[in-house]
Amino acid sequence: MESPNLEKTMIQRKKHPKLQDYRFTLKLLGKNRLAAAGGVIVLVYFAIAVLDYVDPQYLQPYLNYILSGGSQAFYVPLGPGLSNGWAYIFGETEYNMPIFPYILAALKVDLTYTVFIVGSGALIGVVLGTISGYYGGYLDEVVMRITDIFFSVPTLVLALAIIFALQASSLLDIVYALIIIWWPTYARISRGQALSLKSMKYVEASTASGSSGLRNVFVHLMPNVLSPVMVQLSLDLGSVVGVFATLVFIGFMHLPNPYIPELGNIIVIGESEFTAVGAWWAVLFPGIFLFIFVIAVNLLGDGLRDVLDPKLRR
């Protein structure tokens, strides 16, 4: 091969065929209207969370007010309306805290922790599951029996037990508890995938080229295990936000600050206002934000399931 030709090919390589493949995936996803809608909503949520990180200035005064306990006096909270500025669109909750900025701050907290939980859970689960599926034998037996233990207790009960055992006193403790609970799902999914993939001839071909077992696991099995995991991951984003909020709502632990912006916590606070003075908006709006996110994430996950399989999508 002459060098000019080689250079030409090198230039061609810069077209990034993998990127093109992702673009193609997105295009397919766009064709599924519901999934696209879900995707857009999820993106908006994440954009808000990122904005909270990048430029928290617009929230800061409200947040300071909320974290210091609002007005600390029992005034009747304002109802939803446009007349009092953007922060008061959804009205006020206990101690005259404006709900909208409260929710926006909570999205940041919730999404950060959720991504962290699902991400670490998936990482632990996929690595353990793929390895145990590939090697089999005693390792597989042990890992799978451990996951059985986790599956034998209802998620929420187990979460409460772990939080109690950890003597949780911060949101981070809930995060640890949920990671412990969440990895077995991924371990099972990826183990099942690995079991069927390890007998694929391309794994054998790579062994015949001198690839070690661990290299097979990380180079050949994991990328192929990942598509069902991605689906599960997107669905879990919704359920983890829900469970996280539920745990805070149940109020099993002593939070350092009772007014921590977290959707479940906002609903707890709003609930007392609702029973006291009939402030329905204090429960409804944070609830709607939670609900929309869970729905959107589920729609996206369903769409991903159809799109991610390279064989199905042609």
């Binding site: 091969m1 080689l6 090919t9 090198m10 061609q12 390589r13 077209k15 065929p17 993998k18 493949d21 005693y138 037996e141 694929m200 001839k201 391309y202 054998e204 071909a205 790579s206 062994t207 015949a208 080229s209 001198g210 690839s211 050949h220 990328p223 192929n224 390279p310 064989k311 042609r314």
Partner: protein, 484 residues
């Protein structure tokens, strides 16, 4: 061709390779063994193709996988691409060892003494050169020399990798080439196998079956191996594409002087591709011969039956099909002696008939509902087969009135049965004895185990009817006309 063979180098020598799979249940190991591959020996010259044929489950694929050490062989040795003097001396030693083990008329101590002597020389060589003995870390050197091509082009390419990465993988793992060199080599090889460079930037699912198989071939060729193990490389493809792929492989072989192990159950493909053919049955090679010799002068009755199944595209031609009865036996409990004897149309009495084959026929012989002549016998309670001592015990419900008379009657029945079609197995009965008033024991003659022997030059067959002389023992073989 056999004349040039003296000058050509032997690139691969496989000696008595075996693979037994454990039958395990749960955590408890080993309830038995499946003898997927049971003692196969062959050699392969540079640039030569050996075809491996046999029906499903005969161990063809296991052979290929064991050679590549994708599964660990239970026993046996594989030598590949050694300097010719070393290869020759190893082959000599292995053959001498084999001769010693096969000797019949030597005492056990003498045998062990001789074996020890040979092993003194052979042992270190095995440890150093045999692919089955060397450490896994050292395998890398040999993986460069032997590469597989798989049957199913749909599962043999990683769906998440670009073609260029798939082809580059062996080079990345086995050589120290720079990424520039690797890329250049990838480019060369993709053109050599008839695709173009923009195919490099696609995923496997964007190709047709034939193109995928070409990519698979490119991957195995890219590090210039000496031996390719082709495991049914065309059976998943359309017939028109098959021909293209076969032609491609032929031209590759001619250009690069690679040896092929061509595993297939497609006999016409084997006839076109292979220089010599190994026919396998139940984990054993039953006949190894040059292709022409095999297709014109097949010796083993199984080969005969197999080749008679090749369809001839002419409705007027009459084919003398040999239709084998029964099914292929389970490799976890293979028949004694020659594995093929229960289905063999020309089996002799010493081919391996034993208690496990005869329990059922004897029961039927003594059942008055099937055989009116056995009316005089009481009902049978049970028939116990003793495979270790190779005998059958028959328990009767009542005592036999006159044991000696009954024994004679049974002997008569056996004689009668042995004259019927398929009655050869009854000739394997040595004697019938009455050991108590209601118990009869039937013992069998000693059966022989066939060994792969060179009958004529380069033509190996493992069949007792050619034993000793290399000619059909016409007086002992029933239905000898089949072999004409």
């Amino acid at each position: 061709m056999s004349d040039n063979n003296e000058k050509r180098n032997i690139v691969l020598y496989v000696s008595h390779i075996k693979k037994y799979f454990d039958i395990s249940s749960g955590l408890k190991k080993s309830k038995g063994k499946v003898r997927a591959l049971d003692d196969v020996t062959f050699s392969l010259y540079e640039g030569e193709t050996i075809g491996v044929v046999g029906e499903t489950g005969c161990g063809k694929t296991t052979l290929g996988r064991s050679l590549l050490r994708l599964i660990e062989p239970t026993a046996g040795d594989v030598y590949v691409n050694l300097p010719q003097e070393i290869m020759n001396s190893i082959i000599n030693l292995e053959q001498r060892l084999n001769e010693i083990v096969d000797q019949d008329n030597v005492s056990k101590e003498d045998k062990n003494e001789q074996i020890k002597e040979v092993l003194k020389e052979l042992g270190p060589l095995r440890k150093k050169y045999s692919l089955t003995k060397i450490h896994k870390r050292e395998m890398k050197e040999y993986r460069k020399l032997m590469q597989p091509v798989f049957q199913d082009p749909y599962s043999s390419l990683d769906p998440r990798m670009l073609v260029k990465d798939i082809i580059a993988e062996p080079m990345k793992l086995l050589t120290k080439m720079s990424s520039q060199e690797i890329f250049k080599r990838t480019l060369d090889i993709i053109q050599e196998i008839g695709l173009s460079e923009d195919h490099l930037y696609r995923f496997p699912h964007e190709f047709s079956g034939g193109q995928r198989q070409r990519i698979g071939i490119a991957r195995s060729l890219v590090i210039d191996p000496k031996v390719l193990v082709l495991d049914e490389p065309t059976s998943a493809l359309d017939v028109s594409v098959q021909a293209q792929i076969l032609n491609l492989m032929r031209s590759i072989q001619q250009e690069r002087n690679i040896s092929f192990i061509f595993i297939s159950h497609h006999l016409s493909v084997i006839r076109m591709m292979a220089d010599k053919v190994a026919v396998m049955y139940l984990g054993k090679a039953v006949e190894i011969a040059e292709t022409n010799a095999l297709f014109t002068k097949m010796l083993h009755p199984y080969t005969r039956a197999l080749l008679s199944a090749i369809p001839i595209p002419d409705p007027k031609t009459k084919i003398n099909r040999i239709i084998l009865e029964g099914e292929i036996p389970s490799p976890s409990n293979p028949p004694n002696g020659c594995h093929f004897h229960p289905r063999c149309p020309v089996a002799m009495k010493n081919c391996g008939w034993s208690a496990q084959d005869l329990a059922q026929p004897i029961r039927e012989m003594l059942d008055p509902f099937r055989n009116p002549e056995s009316e005089s016998f009481p009902r049978i309670i049970r028939i116990v087969t003793d495979n270790d001592e190779n005998k059958i015990e028959i328990d009767f419900e009542d005592i036999l009135s006159e044991p000696q008379e009954s024994v004679r009657a049974i002997n008569n029945l056996i004689q009668k049965e042995s004259r019927l079609k398929g009655g050869i197995k009854f000739l394997a009965i040595d004697k019938v004895e009455a050991i108590s008033a209601d118990k009869i024991v039937i013992t069998f003659i000693k059966y022989d185990v066939p060994k792969l022997k060179e009958v004529s030059k380069g033509h190996f067959v493992s069949c007792l009817i050619y034993e000793d002389t290399g000619q059909v023992k016409r007086d002992e073989v029933p239905n000898a006309e089949i072999l004409a």
